[in-house]
């Protein structure tokens, strides 16, 4: 294969980006740990094992193409989250209970 003098590779294999989620141990949720590139799903799982669980950090791995993730807008003050903003009565501390009442 030929290379130009700039060191640019003429071939871009274009392996897609995968996001990786690892379950640390039984009883815990899968947690996002980072991303990697792989040619296909099976390779993504293998690379995820080699990259993110070299020291028994996981008992289960999920990988998903980054392009397939649907997310909310990045703005923390997004009106999307407004419906839960004014419902203080959903929290236990909203209710005043006399000190003497046990087990509440």
């Amino acid at each position: 294969m030929t290379q130009d003098s700039q060191g640019e590779s003429p071939v871009r294999a274009g392996w897609p980006l995968y996001e990786v989620f690892v379950r640390g141990k039984r009883g815990l949720n899968h947690v996002h740990v980072g991303s990697l590139h792989a040619a296909d799903d099976q390779m993504a799982v293998r690379h995820a094992r080699d990259l993110y669980t070299r020291r028994n950090e996981g008992v289960s791995i999920w990988v998903v193409r980054a392009a397939h993730i649907v997310a909310t807008s990045p703005d923390e003050r997004d009106p999307f989250f407004a419906p839960s903003g004014d419902k203080v009565y959903r929290h236990p501390t909203f209710y005043a209970i006399p000190d003497g009442v046990p087990h509440m």
Binding site: G7, S9, R12, A13, G14, G34, D40, M43, L51, R54
Partner: protein, 317 residues
């Protein structure tokens, strides 16, 4: 002020408040272009250092003196590859392209740590690299676990957990050699002499010559100045050298009770600049090796991509 300018000022203020409150900036947040550029540069150059850092020790894997040492060295070098990958992954969250970054390393458009342009001449150098080079890296990296950029800080937490093994295996290797023959002890001393000053240079130029430090501290992407970290490293290393029984090659090294720190000699900044400019003992070798790895691996990447495409077709996806 136009409406867009007003909106930008508002975004800028929100960004600054987030940093003031010691909260993290996350990938899709608005951030000033300067911050994005600085982070891409810092993270990718850090990634390049991890990848190039595999080479000085990597050459010793086939010549390790026992199966135990070989397994340890293999695991250590594999970790460094992993560190590079965590960091490239963090850089990509800022919109950088991985192949673009690795090409910039090879073309020389981006730098990596000057330390990896020195050769590992003997197996004692492998031990000294673990002790001093990984030791200095730990000093640099622990504060970066609190970097204001979330993905970078999280990558640094993973990396720091793994670095501790790197330093300890190196120190243990040296201890073993120091309990050996006088020739082995000489090897350890000579390797220490070779690596001590380059290790101190890993913290970068003196504060007076580090114009970007103030901005980086304000953005909390840097938590201590170069000289502060260098001093911390010297103070940590002196008792370690004593425990090992080697002499650090600096006649000016002395405890200063008034400062509560060790004084040490002036670094050879001319040498530092030469190595950074590409004229260190191994700069050309390191890049040539990296370029060969990329080019020789091209057919594997292409074959895997072709297989994946064919397989996807077959499944009617």
């Amino acid at each position: 002020m136009t409406a867009t300018e007003l909106a930008t000022t508002e975004l800028q203020r929100h960004f600054e408040r987030t940093i003031e409150h010691d909260q993290r900036i996350e990938p899709r947040d608005w951030m000033p272009e300067g911050y994005r550029k600085t982070m891409i540069r810092q993270i990718s150059q850090h990634a390049h250092s991890e990848i190039i850092g595999m080479q000085p020790e990597g050459h010793w894997i086939t010549r390790a003196p026992s199966l135990r040492r070989k397994a340890i060295l293999l695991a250590k070098v594999q970790d460094e590859a992993g560190h590079g990958l965590y960091l490239y992954s963090a850089a990509e969250t800022l919109g950088a392209e991985r192949t673009d970054l690795t090409d910039r390393l090879i073309s020389g458009a981006q730098k990596y740590s000057s330390i990896f342009n020195y050769p590992a001449l003997t197996f004692a150098d492998v031990g000294v690299i673990g002790w001093l080079v990984d030791g200095a890296a730990i000093c640099n990296q622990v504060p970066l676990c609190r970097s204001s950029y979330g993905p970078y800080a999280r990558a640094m937490i993973r990396i720091c957990k793994e670095e501790s093994f790197h330093q300890r295996q190196g120190f243990e290797l040296l201890l073993t050699m120091m309990r050996g023959t006088s020739a082995q002890r000489d090897m350890v001393q000579e390797a220490t002499n070779r690596w001590w000053w380059p290790a101190l240079m890993m913290f970068g130029p003196p504060d007076a010559d580090s114009p970007n430090t103030a901005q980086s501290m304000a953005w909390k992407v840097k938590r201590h100045t170069n000289d502060e970290l260098r001093q911390r490293f010297v103070d940590m290393s002196v008792p370690q050298a004593d425990a090992l029984g080697v002499t650090l090659p600096d006649p000016w090294l002395a405890w200063n009770a008034e400062r509560g720190h060790y004084d040490f000699g002036e670094l050879d900044w001319a040498e530092f600049k030469q190595v950074l400019a590409g004229n260190g003992p191994c700069n050309a070798d390191r890049i040539a090796h990296r370029r060969a790895a990329r080019d020789n691996g091209a057919w594997v990447r292409e074959a895997a991509a072709a297989y994946a495409a064919k397989h996807a077709e077959g499944q009617g996806r």
